[in-house]
């Protein structure tokens, strides 16, 4: 009985040491315990105080991993060559324009009513490309996401992720030998404007890491677009060229900082 009671007291004392809010010099675990148990508590207490020392500040202030996380969160599940897994997505390209309009209106109504079908339609829309009936819904959902983000870095991450979507869609269309659409250029320009506005609103302490991240992402998008130049037929080559040139990758820090300065004046 004495052993069981001693074990119970030891367990309670270890819980106190482990879970108390902050380690202090106050010994709250002095109890009627033998020397072996007491020395275990001493060791646990010393460990608690040693591990309570805060770790050194992360080299990048956890900002790069935050951006990576937010960019990944903003991506639906679109691959560069979107694969339609849903039944709705597979059927829709075959529909004619009038029916397509009806489907979009119906989808919006379903969205507003919050019915479970809306999730399936939004999922199908997230893998659509320009020219398909659900594409306007995809763009609409993206805009709502950007408008709903109240932190500048969230908007930066979303704008970059959606720029990546436009690049992936362009790549998908060229691989399918389908014509590109001018609306991609317009959407890219809108996203760049949103990106610059969000950069302009970034707090000073996070600006450098944000600029580095934006520059890195834009360069990655540019590399993909450049790789598409050879793939694009003559009719589409100019649009690919325009998309590539619209990305502010030449001295991006300077261009983004200029946008920030203009935004404040």
């Amino acid at each position: 009985v004495r052993t069981v009671q001693a074990e119970r007291r030891l367990r309670a004392a270890l819980d106190e040491i482990a879970c108390r809010p902050a380690p202090s010099d106050a010994r709250t675990f002095e109890r009627d315990l033998g020397p072996r148990e007491s020395s275990l508590l001493e060791t646990a207490d010393a460990l608690r105080r040693t591990l309570a020392v805060p770790p050194p500040a992360p080299p990048n202030g956890l900002q790069e991993s935050r951006q990576r996380f937010l960019a990944r969160a903003a991506q639906p599940t679109t691959s560069p060559l979107p694969q339609r897994s849903s039944r709705v997505g597979r059927l829709l390209p075959a529909l004619n324009l009038r029916l397509a309009t009806q489907v979009v209106v119906a989808a919006l109504l379903v969205l507003m009513s919050g019915a479970p079908l809306s999730r399936e339609i939004v999922r199908a829309a997230s893998t659509s490309v320009p020219g398909q009936v659900l594409y306007p819904l995809k763009i609409h959902v993206e805009r709502v996401q950007v408008a709903g983000a109240d932190q500048p870095d969230t908007r930066v991450a979303l704008a970059l992720a959606f720029l990546g979507e436009r690049v992936a869609e362009t790549q998908a269309l060229l691989h399918r030998q389908a014509p590109l659409r001018d609306e991609t250029r317009v959407e890219v320009q809108l996203l760049l404007n949103q990106l610059l506005r969000a950069v302009a609103e970034t707090p000073d302490q996070a600006l450098m890491s944000t600029l580095n991240y934006v520059a890195m992402q834009l360069e990655a998008h540019e590399r993909v677009l450049e790789s598409l130049h050879t793939l694009a037929p003559i009719a589409d080559a100019q649009l690919v060229e325009q998309l590539t040139e619209s990305l502010p990758t030449g001295a991006p820090h300077h261009r983004l900082r200029t946008a920030r300065t203009h935004a404040f004046h």
Binding site: R20, L47, A73
Partner: protein, 176 residues
């Protein structure tokens, strides 16, 4: 869990970008601290912090979010990330122990005792270190540690007892 936290977790579970950003802000520091205590390198700990949160998203995307306590679920992911990282290391390189931070104003005997304890900790088995860091570094309860490690509470208590006994012996040997 407060109602605000509950609401945040619910929104994050539904992939709300704003809620995910808030979730990151709320937990990234704690995850980084835990990872640093396991890998002893700020750079590696920061990289692994990003990996942990990407895995959170992957779990949400694949419809496998947390079922019980979010915090324990998150530490479990972090634990798996650390295990994967150690497996991928041909040779583990830790920062020299002398460069580890010590409390401001600590006396020299305190600093030496602190470093002796850290060295002693590194002599334990991976699981013993894991239990002690989660218990006395992160302040988790026995049942939370059990959930993270996939063991029973009794097994974790036994592991903790063995780990503390081994630590006391190594630590005592170093300070004598």
């Amino acid at each position: 869990v407060t109602p605000e936290e509950e609401s945040l977790l619910e929104r994050a579970r539904a992939n709300d970008p704003q809620a995910l950003a808030e979730l990151y802000d709320a937990y990234a520091g704690r995850v980084y601290g835990y990872l640093y205590r396991r890998v002893s390198s700020p750079q590696v700990a920061e990289d692994l912090t990003g990996d942990v949160f990407v895995k959170v998203l992957e779990a949400l995307d694949s419809g496998k979010p947390w079922r019980t306590a979010f915090r324990a679920w998150l530490y479990r992911i972090a634990h798996n990330v650390v295990v994967d990282w150690y497996r991928g290391q041909a040779r583990i390189e830790c920062e020299p122990l002398d460069s580890w931070d010590v409390p401001v104003g600590a006396s020299m005997p305190d600093v030496m005792a602190d470093q002796a304890l850290r060295r002693a900790l590194l002599t334990l088995t991976e699981q013993q270190q894991q239990v002690l860091v989660l218990r006395f570094g992160e302040g988790l309860k026995i049942r939370e540690v059990a959930e993270i490690l996939g063991k029973s509470a009794g097994a974790v208590e036994a592991l903790q007892h063995r780990a503390l006994t081994a630590l006391r012996e190594h630590y005592g040997g170093m300070t004598e």
